[in-house]
């Protein structure tokens, strides 16, 4: 599952957002006990016209 989808469907414990001047948002998500944080980049984050620009694959085998 991609990080952008994971963030909307699964509970994560930490979300860091870096909003850029060009309207894009770099989002980092982290789940407790996980060894890795995952990133995605979106334009119009959480809006109907949301556009995912970059997306990492989440290793769902991690706790």
């Amino acid at each position: 599952m991609k990080a952008s989808e994971y963030c909307k469907l699964k509970p994560v414990n930490v979300v860091n957002e870096k909003w850029n001047d060009d309207g894009t948002v770099d989002v980092t998500i982290y789940k407790q006990r996980s060894k890795k944080a995952y990133k995605f980049r979106a334009r119009n984050l959480n809006q109907k016209n949301e556009e995912i620009l970059e997306d990492e694959e989440v290793d769902e085998t991690e706790p």
């Binding site: 963030c7 509970p11 957002e17 407790q32």
Partner: protein
């Protein structure tokens, strides 16, 4: 064996012996053989327990669960079984007014007073519990007058009214508590169970324009309860106004403002249901663009 004993009673009655005497003979034979009646016999409820108390011995309540409906008291028994077998568990009792010094209690529907129990699981209704080492999985409690000195109270899913609590841990949801001396509630529970969420955002904040500076989508099958949020601005002595909102439909939940920022510890958690988006929208009028840093802390339940 049971069929034989039942047949023996019938045989004796058929020979003109009074039923009570026939039962006494069979009971004597049963005792002599050391044979314990199997599951299913009835009529051994309170009297047996009182006899066991007087003998200071283990109590075996022979019969099915409904045999112990309306027990007034079970005291100082360490071995109580309701299902026809000896053991250290009291299982499946519908209504008991008072329980003391029993090691394990499982699945009791209605208890008025319960104390000095090592472990309790699956109780629907309790009015008072105290001095219990461990309580697991209590659902649908409508009224508890007092909870005191509980070692660990786990997974108390829904409690509607508790009048007094002196010490409890790990409770998921409680409403209408008159008095709490020491209790770990939503925030502690969320962190311990890894159901807490912190959303931090850094965003450019143009001059004079209300701007979304944080956006978080509540995941499926979860409700976000925001109990803490803040917004601050990087520039010196710059005032900022911000509001906490949920979409869609769009609704403001809270608003605050201050020089260089502010922090809100909500007296009541702000709720956002699954699929909704929680936003912080901010505005400043310093004359130039600033950087806003915002944060929400909440629990996903």
């Amino acid at each position: 064996m049971e069929a034989f004993l039942a047949g023996l009673i019938g045989f004796l009655i058929g020979r003109g012996i009074e039923p009570a005497d026939a039962a006494a003979v069979v009971e004597a034979l049963r005792t002599y053989l050391g044979y314990e009646p199997p599951l299913g016999l009835t009529g051994y409820a309170l009297q047996d327990i009182q006899a066991g108390k007087e003998a200071n011995a283990a109590v075996v309540v022979r019969g099915r669960a409904y045999d112990v409906v309306a027990l007034n008291s079970i005291l100082k028994q360490t071995q109580v079984s309701v299902l026809g077998k000896k053991g250290e568990r009291l299982e499946v009792a519908r209504t008991i007014e008072s329980l003391n010094l029993i090691e394990t209690v499982n699945l009791i529907r209605n208890i008025t007073t319960i104390s000095n129990i090592q472990k309790v699981a699956q109780v629907d209704m309790l009015t008072s519990i105290a001095n219990i080492w461990s309580v697991d999985l209590i659902d649908r409690i409508t009224l508890i007058d007092a909870i005191t000195n509980i070692g660990t109270l786990n997974l108390l899913n829904t409690v509607n009214l508790i009048k007094s609590i002196t010490s409890i841990d790990l409770i998921k949801q409680i409403s209408l508590i008159d008095e709490i001396t020491k209790a770990k509630l939503l925030t502690d529970w969320a962190a311990i169970e890894a159901q807490d969420v912190d959303v931090f955002a850094e965003a450019p904040l143009p001059n004079g324009t209300q701007t979304t500076v944080l956006s978080y989508n509540v995941p499926s099958n979860k409700t976000l309860l925001v109990f803490d949020w803040s917004s601050s601005i990087y520039g010196a002595d710059v005032g900022v106004w911000a509001g906490l909102a949920v979409t869609s439909p769009f609704n403001w939940l809270d608003a605050a403002g201050g020089i260089r920022g502010f922090h809100v510890a909500a007296t009541k958690p702000k709720r956002a249901d699954a699929g909704k988006t929680v936003e912080i929208r901010a505005m400043q009028n310093s004359g130039v663009q600033q950087i806003a840093r915002s944060h929400i802390a909440g629990a996903l339940i």
